[in-house]
Symmetry: C3
Subunit: 229 residues, 3 copies
């Protein structure tokens, strides 16, 4: 090969490597973005949570679909009357088990994460918000999508599914069929000022049968696992 050909070949290889390294940096950015979501949720830092979303985000929660940051403001708008850390209110969001896949063009990403939440209200609290059990556990799974806008990763699709909720004293074997704290939506926005823009079927929760769909194929066979429920 001539010197020119060698230079061109090396430049191509350098570009390919730079792209691979950039992709790994994107994985890191997306997983920490989601982890930061969890730390903000611990303390009801809803303004910070809402700022994690893209303008055109879509959020699924229970039987509701919320459109845009506007929708996010309603979803995190404090139906519980909370905004920021409060005496005697606990929402520890452990986030783990990240599966982040970035698209080849590095503009979008998908991520599966697990949440294990310890929540409740301390016995000494005088002005306890209604509907929060004294102490409860929640397990859930996120299957979110992310977009990079001007070099900054944001949450573009938020899809969190409660797997189970249980009062600590009773445990999951005795969990009721209705969710704790939250309820499926009966009316849409704007009739319901904190309601969703659209309905969707309420996805099944414990003790019902379901699989939160996997955004990725099986890592060895490459087959998709069909969703259930």
């Amino acid at each position: 090969m001539s010197v020119d050909e060698q230079l061109r070949a090396m430049r191509r290889e350098l570009e390919a490597l730079r792209s691979e390294v950039g992709l790994q940096a994107d994985v890191h950015a997306v997983r920490t973005l989601q982890f930061k979501y969890g730390y903000y949720m611990d303390k009801c830092l809803f303004a910070e949570v809402i700022d994690l979303f893209a303008e055109d985000a879509v959020l699924y929660f229970l039987n509701g679909i919320f459109h845009g940051k506007r929708g996010a403001r309603r979803l995190y708008g404090g139906g519980l009357g909370l905004d920021g850390p409060a005496y005697g209110v606990l929402f520890e969001h452990i986030l783990a088990q990240d599966i982040v896949d970035v698209s080849p063009d590095r503009k979008t990403a998908k991520g599966r994460f697990r949440c294990f939440l310890q929540g409740g209200v301390h016995a000494s609290k005088q002005d306890a918000p209604p509907r929060i059990p004294a102490q409860f556990l929640e397990a859930g799974i996120y299957e979110n999508e992310y977009a990079k806008e001007d070099g900054v990763w944001k949450i573009r699709l938020f899809d969190y599914r409660i797997v189970y909720q249980a009062r600590l004293e009773q445990g999951w074997a005795h969990a009721g069929l209705e969710p704790l704290i939250v309820s499926p939506y009966a009316t849409l926005y704007p009739e319901n000022p904190g309601g969703p823009d659209e309905f969707r079927p309420d996805p099944p929760r414990w003790p019902h049968t379901f699989i939160m769909p996997f955004h990725y194929p099986h890592p060895v066979t490459g087959k998709l696992v069909p969703p259930v429920g």
Copy 2:
């Protein structure tokens, strides 16, 4: 340096960097492989779990050693009568704290992970599988090995040790000495159709004294921590 020498030097550096980047991609592949194992186990997706193993895998569980994917099929073969998600059956496998080390030739890897499992059967379930407590916790540690075959990472050595199991109502302070759900094997395959190929000593569990061996040396001193139990 001549242009030729400079080109050769840069090519060597590019190769070294490509190898380092490849190694980081391998770490990512192995940690997500193990995390995906956890998500499949949540839902008793045993066919998907078995497909994560290499043909020549070895699996350690309790006092048994299972050989090959054939052995994996017996270990995950549903002694509990489960296969896929079922009404009122919970096995939430939180996997975390990944320590993945890839060999310099990038063909094998070792990984330590922690598991925290919430399991049980809902009170409303009619046909509850025998032996699963209504609600229990399990902590455990994996010290697995992985192999890359045709560019695809698989589990080649599976070594999971239960640290403790406890009924939620009783807690770990009152855990019995016998494991929940599972029992040490009394007979080998094929006499026992779901049994192991070989015996090994049953490793100690809570409340006994042990350290699950670390596959890595101390990150500062480089010394190995001797195993206990």
Copy 3:
């Protein structure tokens, strides 16, 4: 561009890429360093824990500040009489949700991690150490700093804050105001042989109101979240 100019340009790009890859390797080293801390703490491997610290480390715990590895030896010196794994003593440290940021010069790093601890003493234990409840949960957050010395990452600033502690039987809604196992320090070293070098205000814990300060700005807005408590 002349061949020489092309070679110089490519060398600069290669250097930039090498630096980026090195930074990703540093993130991996720091997160696994902290995870290894957790695995050693499980088993009261205090000699191994102390060796994770830099000579000039500073450790914050409750209302005390400990200086150097010497201080670390006092903090982990086994006020509980423990050293290594013991029959019927449980301290499962689940570490997760790592947010590691390495400085541009790659000599220091900051990391936020979550800890979820299951601790206790088995009912069958004869010589139970005093002060450890039979079974308790602890949630906490680390905001640590790390330094690279001769190519090896070490913990240089240790700042762990207990979020809540609770006896499993009572749960966090009924947690007392005084911490379990540990107590704020009343006297300094050397008067107190296991005491800190300095006092600081004891940071608030559950059920009080606080935010463990974030070492990083908001990932989208770039704004700092002001600390509380």
